[in-house]
Amino acid sequence: MKIMDILVKDAVLMDLESRTKHEALAEMAGALSRQEAGLEAGRLLEVLLEREKLQSTGIGEGVAIPHGRMPGLGRLVATFARSREGVDFESIDGQATHLFFLLVVPEHSGGQHLKALARISRFFRDAAFRERLLSSEQLEDVCRAIEEEDAKF
């Protein structure tokens, strides 16, 4: 599985306007649902908020991977968002979150879900990759960075 195959490019947000967790999730859910027929923004937001209640997906190092399962969805979809100022995402290390990778998976996709999480985590655990996404000017720079990682393994 390549990340570029599941990333909905037109839903990427280079500058999140939101400063709170709820707003940030709503902004990302809105952007993704506008591009993806069959994904309803309100329902997606509900699913994401439910998941956050269990434990924040702000997993530290400035990164969050909000995710959820959507019944009826035909395939994995993902988007990326960035906040230069940072969002208080209740992250586990208490630091502001700047990089968001939103993953939405069909109801029955246990293995695929874990693989997608693993792959994106492998990218994000590299400080140089995180820095590159933070300093990207254009969407194309972000896509190039992801494509290069995708090509590595």
Binding site: Q55, G60, I92, A118, S121
Partner: protein
Amino acid sequence: MTDRPVLEREVTVQSELGLHARPAASFAALSNRFQSEIWVSRGSDEEWVNGKSVLSLLSLAAAQGTRLRIRAEGEDAREALEALEDLIRESRETRETGTDA
């Protein structure tokens, strides 16, 4: 140069959903309570990742049944390994009982 204890043991991931985001976060949080450095590797894989980082743990893609090696280096290595082994053993949630991922 260093005479601090280095201990290692192997555990098998029990959770039906594997070492997904929440168990990985629990593992990292528990690891962070110990002074020892914690390293984790898949079975025979030679790549060791930082057990105190959720991103690193998630990158293992450890599905149910995956054998993980946990290595602890430091004064409290034994206690750390016992606690982490218990955590992996106890996380047996299934689709029916746990809200997933």
